[in-house]
Amino acid sequence: MANKYRDLPIQIKLTIVYIFASVLILIVNTSLLFGINSVLKRLESTYQENLDLNEIVVSLNDVQDSMTEYLNVKTTDALENYYISEENYRSKIESLDSVVSNAVNSRMERNIKYMSEEYLKEVSQTIEAKRGRNVEKYRMRYEKATQLYEYIGSYIDTLNNQQFAENSQNFVRLSKGLRTTERLSLAIMFAVIFINIFFILQSASQMTRPLKKLAKSANEVAKGNFDIPLTPPESRDEVGVVTSAFNQMVGSIRDYIDKIKESMEKERKHKETELMMETHLKDAQIKYLQAQINPHFLFNSLNAGAQLAMMEDADKTYEYIQNMAEFFRYNLKKADSIITLREEIELVDHYIFIINVRFSGDVKFEKEIDEKLVSASIPSMILQPIVENCVNHGIREMAGEGVILLKVFRIMDNICISIKDNGKGMSQEMIDRILNGTYRDDGLSMDSNGIGMDNVINRLRLFLGSDDVISISSEGENMGTEVRIYLPMNSDEDDYV
């Protein structure tokens, strides 16, 4: 039953509660009214006995009067009156008690009844005697009847007084009782109403409790907290429906979030794999190159070539080979480690020398270097790839003499390394693509040492932990390109200064 009730719609539930409370109050009220009513009825009938007795007295007087009248005048009217009153009186005394009991009133009634019967007998005999004109007899009987009449009257008076006293007591008691009943009724009504209010409050709270819980949960969800414990619906009413719908919604949202997280994870993994593959590829390339030429062998061979050139007095060849040897030695020794700016610049010097031999002195290399700053740390193989880019993309495709200007100077707390060429320049789009890493070289050119710009930029950014480490600027077509690297000055440089 409780379950069925819980599943009813709220409207019906509320109606049931209100009807129930009202019906109970109605029942209580009705029964109290009934009680008061019965008291009132009793109050009204308190003096009924006295009224009845008075009627009997009136009736008795009628009999006596009609008899006396008949004796006096002997008219048929009087006789008729006598018969009527006699009948009337007889019917009245019929209702009186005729048993002997311990209740004084009932005994009195009994005596009055018997005396009345005796009296009526006497009266009828008197009338008979009068008819028979037996003067002596009817006078005697009249006296006897009158005596009885007086006794009855006296008896009734006594009974009347006694009952009046009793009834007055009853009346006082009843009217007191009525007041008590009124007060009691009021108290009971209050008690019942109080209980009812409590009941309604309890029922209302029972109905709204799941709603409150739901509201709390909804608030949490609104704040973005999806990890709330979901309360199962307590009933199948509207609140229950909303609760289960809410729970379903929260569940769906959770699932959705999980799916998004999963797909993001997948994507990340995908990218990682891609990156790994690229790295592996690079690694493979390096390994391949390394496998092709043992740098030591190459270095030693170049040294041997240099000695041979010296013995043959081919100074230029010697110098060339020497530079080559230095260049490879450097590559061999310093690859993927932190070195000083000075060593980097030396490498650039070697490279320029080699390039100038290869391209018969087309590249003019100028340096404006603040010597105080050259001991700063820098990842290896940074400057050379940039210069190589200048040569390959900037200068080689231009007509005329290419100039590369390397400047190292201080701007505020930074060491600025500027590499500027006077080549064909770069479009802004190209610069942007290089800087955000979307530009890719189409394979390594044959003249490259294998390290691309994106590699240089990434390593620099990783090394310095900042994106703002490199800038590329070009003033336009054939106006050259300037690459600037900003290294923060650390305490070592300060000491050095």
Partner: protein, 344 residues
């Protein structure tokens, strides 16, 4: 969930029970409050209805007689009523007799007298089939079925014994003086009273001290309500106040007792009383009343009802019942005081 349902269930049932209980208690209270007053419920019905018509239903003597009759009646499913109490006015015994006859009662216990009227009324009752038992005072010429009395001879003898012992102590103190003994009787002395008087006379004559004893009777007018008291006072106002006063009724005893105190005659006048009302017992205790003859009034009531019952049952009964008498004096009074205090 399960627990919550049962909790709600309990709460709901508690609510209904509480409301109905409140209403029920209220209604119950109201109905109980108003039903206790009605004596309809404990009304008992009796087989027979006897009435007592006494000389004076206010005296403790007659009350005691009535009580005896009433209690004995209840035991036999008979309701005995003192008829006079039902009337606000003062009715004579004859009027009460007429009422009883007209009321068609089942039996009448009457303190009768020898008058023609009373005898006629008793006969009328008998003719209507209502048995009459005379109590204490007889109507010997009537058709009463029985008389329950005290035996005037016994009383006379007892009074004689008491009077003589008092007389002897007076004689011992004043051997030369005559000792006056008076007996208070009704203005028309009943047979019983005359019997008592003559028995008393007889016992005095037999005694050696008779030459010193003067026995006399003083008639007290009992017809008028207050005349008894006035008549008795007259006795004390006369020149020759008697030494011993013998009272043959409770009222006489009480009046004499009061008069002795009022006229400062304590110790000079010796009272031989009648009956054992509280006042009389106190008088004996204080030494103002010498002794009193007590009639077993309860027994008298019982015997009279028994006579009627027996007549009803068998059609006849003893013509004469004698009830026991005791003498109460200063030695035995305390026991009677206790009895009366206990309501016996």
């Amino acid at each position: 969930m399960k627990r919550r349902i049962s909790k709600n269930y309990i709460f709901f049932s508690l609510y209904v029970v509480l409301v109905l209980l409140t209403a029920f208690i209220g209604i119950r209270f109201v109905s109980v409050y108003f039903s206790d007053g009605s004596n309809q419920a404990n009304q008992e019905i009796y087989d027979k209805y006897y009435v007592v018509i006494s000389d004076d239903n206010q005296s403790s003597f007659w009350k005691s007689v009535y009580e005896g009759a009433y209690n004995y009646g209840l035991e036999n499913n008979v309701y005995v009523e003192d008829l006079a109490t039902g009337f606000s006015g003062d009715l004579s015994k004859e009027e009460l007799m007429r009422i009883a006859i007209a009321s068609n009662v089942d039996g009448i216990l009457v303190s009768a007298d020898d008058s023609k009227e009373m005898t006629a009324l008793i006969d009328e009752a008998a003719s209507k089939g209502i048995p009459v038992v005379t109590l204490y005072n007889d109507a010997p010429n009537s058709k009463r079925i029985s008389y329950v009395g005290v035996g005037s001879y016994n009383i006379g003898t007892e009074y004689g014994r008491q009077a003589l012992s008092v007389a002897k102590s007076i004689y011992a103190e004043n051997p030369d003086e005559q000792i006056n003994v008076v007996v208070l009787v009704d203005s028309v002395p009943s047979t019983d009273q005359m019997m008592v008087y003559s028995t008393l006379q007889e016992s005095f004559e037999k005694d050696a001290l008779s030459f010193r004893l003067n026995l006399d009777m003083v008639k007290i007018d009992t017809t008028n309500t207050f005349s008894v008291e006035e008549n008795i006072r007259d006795v004390f106002l006369s020149e020759d106040v008697p030494d011993i006063i013998i009272c043959l009724s409770e009222l006489d005893t009480t009046c004499v007792y009061q008069a002795v105190v009022d006229y400062n005659q304590v110790g000079k006048v010796n009272i031989l009383g009648y009956h054992d009302s509280v006042t009389i017992l106190q008088g004996i205790e204080r030494g103002i009343i010498n002794s009193s003859i007590r009639i077993d009034t309860q027994q008298m009531g019982e015997y009279s009802v028994n006579a009627l019952l027996e007549y009803d049952r068998a059609g006849f009964t003893n013509q004469y019942f004698t009830v026991d008498i005791d003498v109460i004096n200063s030695y035995t009074v305390s026991a009677y005081m206790e009895d009366s205090a206990n309501g016996k």
